[in-house]
Chain length 388, copies 2
């Protein structure tokens, strides 16, 4: 859409800030990564957000899990997740190189486990589907499971390894992306955007998570997730190294260990728009976590937090131009996948802006025009909309 | 010990503050109530505390439960609890009259319940003991239980009513006591007391909870309690009116409803001195709470907090003069009973100070000289001390 801007001597615009080439609404990982990528191409970029990193990413666990997150009926999404996960090693290395920041990128892989026979039967159905897609799922005997993670409950019936499913710390990621973007010349504007006409730029990218609905009329709805953070007592690292995802008496839970001693336990998936913490959710998450990994009972509970994922009617993101809104691109609707999809989203949207990636076939399934779009703020005809 | 001070025109000393007749160390409910009572008698009183109301009372549920808290082997303590609970209606009325404050004093009574047959068998053994002491425990049929509290889980096997076991809101209580004390002329000194020789007063009262050990050498140890606060969604009151105490699959829990919608869920009893929140404790408390009252799963979890009760070797408070420390009185070691024992403690200690209650037989079992007392700060001979 835009030609590459005039190259500055270092690719960085630090002079008087003119009307930007690109305005990004939303300083979560997706918005910041787009801004960084665009600034690397020599574009003048402003990112608008009163509270960078305070949205869904603040709550997210940071699993990069194209395999474990490959669900029935989401083949195209699985393809995008796999593509983006494949870009993560380079993305992480480049970001660390640019900033010196440790973003908690870890590659031990993910153990998928089932506590009871019923849990294992349900898990195996999904693993067979994932293997059928050619994804790397390696079933493990109980003895192999325990060799990898001796802290697993003795009752855990079985599991499988997704060796390519990694993790990153989303809060560190946001801080690093912000640093990288600012070093590349991106201007952060700490103010909310009420309507897109308030933003003056060559191209506006809406990376506002759930806020995209009000700004664009796109069918993006909040999907509440409640998450706990535990911490190993005594200051050491947790007593396990893999991300563990499992079914425990029908309850799905994930456990993400960090070097700092933190363990993220998540998450509910609720069609609600509040961010209250409910006693029942905390009970279910803790029960499932302790059922799978008994030592977690001794950990400190240091945080309970809820966030709102931007969900779409087909659970897939919305990437690209808005019909009838020239100069406006969407990069939202990432639902449970915002962290893993950050690199590919940034690359694809930047390609659209520079005009070099307009024909990218990866984008086709995720175009905005697959949905009916409301007038921003309008409630009319909602009942016959695709997302009902 | 002291004669009643010169009466001022309104019983209030607001002039230049001279060396006080009484210095109280600790502005929890016990310390503030003693200060208030002494000031009512015309004494000049100072209370020393850098953070009034931030100790065990901040965490406490506020059950006034001489019956439900009557345990095997604690007859003399039960007598004091009963005596103090009997003073609560007058104490609450006087405090409300003095300040206009609502302290959340409620008299619906307490339901004691058992979830399983085993729980009920354990509970019945205790109820029989309590009835044997002549305490008012009324066994209820399941239908009677549900008439009183329809929200109880259908599986709850049985229960009993302790009609005289009431409740108060400890945080409101502290605020009201502070207001009453200040109106009566008490000076609050917002600084810590490192050693008793720093305090200049005719009589010094150590009402410092766990802090009493370091100040006096008394065998007071921290007993950690973790407590949750839930809140009914939507802003209404909770869906039950009695305090509910119960056994649920061997787990003991209490549920205290407040008019504000708050429900206090407690409590662990741990021989530890940290105030961390542990995942296992939250899990056990929530599981027991939801097992007894399923609707609590829908409540918001609004607070997790831990405090340190001042425990003694025999679980009973220490009230009265310290041997070999003339002019120093103890009012500590209230363990799980600080709120219910506040009125009687204030009356008894004030009686000792004015000299009118020196022979009070109620005090005899709770004298400091029943324990060996360390030199303050000394670690020596701890291994042969009564509290090991």
């Amino acid at each position: 859409m835009l030609k590459r801007g005039p190259s500055s001597t270092a690719g960085v615009n630090r002079g008087p800030f003119l009307t930007p080439d690109v305005a990004v609404v939303g300083a979560g990982p997706v918005g910041l990564a787009i801004a960084w990528r665009c600034a690397q191409r020599g574009l003048r970029v402003a990112v608008h957000d009163p509270a960078p990193g305070s949205g869904a990413s603040y709550v997210a666990a940071g699993m990069l899990a194209p395999v474990a997150e490959a669900y029935f009926g989401e083949r195209e999404l699985t393809g995008l997740l796999t593509e983006s996960a494949g870009r993560w090693p380079g993305f992480a290395a480049e970001l660390t190189e640019a900033t010196g920041a440790d973003i908690g990128y870890r590659t031990e892989g993910t153990l998928m486990v089932g506590l009871t026979a019923d849990d294992l039967a349900e898990a195996r159905r999904l693993w067979a589907y994932q293997q059928g897609l050619g994804l790397p799922v390696t079933p493990l005997r109980p003895s192999q499971l325990r060799e990898r993670e001796p802290a697993l409950a003795p009752g855990v019936r079985g599991g499988a390894l997704a060796v390519t499913d990694h993790q990153v710390d989303p809060r560190r990621l946001v801080a690093a992306l912000r640093g990288a973007a600012e070093r590349a010349g991106v201007l952060l504007v700490p103010e909310p955007v009420r309507q897109l006409s308030d933003v003056a730029a060559g191209v506006t990218v809406v990376a506002a998570g759930c806020g995209a609905a009000a700004l664009t009329g796109l069918p993006v709805r909040p999907v509440k997730g409640q998450v706990l953070r535990l911490r190993a007592s005594g200051g050491g690292p947790p007593g396990f190294r893999h991300v563990i995802r499992g079914y425990a008496d029908g309850e799905h839970v994930y456990l993400v260990p960090r070097d700092s001693g933190e363990v993220v336990v998540g998450a509910t998936v609720e069609e609600r728009s509040d961010v209250d913490i409910s006693a029942g959710a905390v009970l279910r998450l803790l029960r499932a976590a302790v059922d799978l990994l008994p030592e977690l009972a001794e950990y400190d509970l240091v945080e309970t937090v809820a966030g709102l994922r931007p969900g779409t009617p087909d659970n897939a993101p919305i990437l690209g131009p808005l019909p009838d809104r020239p100069g406006v691109l969407a990069a939202t609707g990432h639902h449970r996948h915002g962290i893993v999809l950050t690199p590919v989203t940034a690359d694809l949207i930047t390609g659209l802006i520079t005009g070099e990636g307009a024909d990218e076939p990866l984008l086709t399934p995720f175009r905005a025009d697959r949905f009916r779009i409301h007038s921003a703020g309008s409630e009319q005809s909602r009942e016959d909309d695709a997302w009902n």
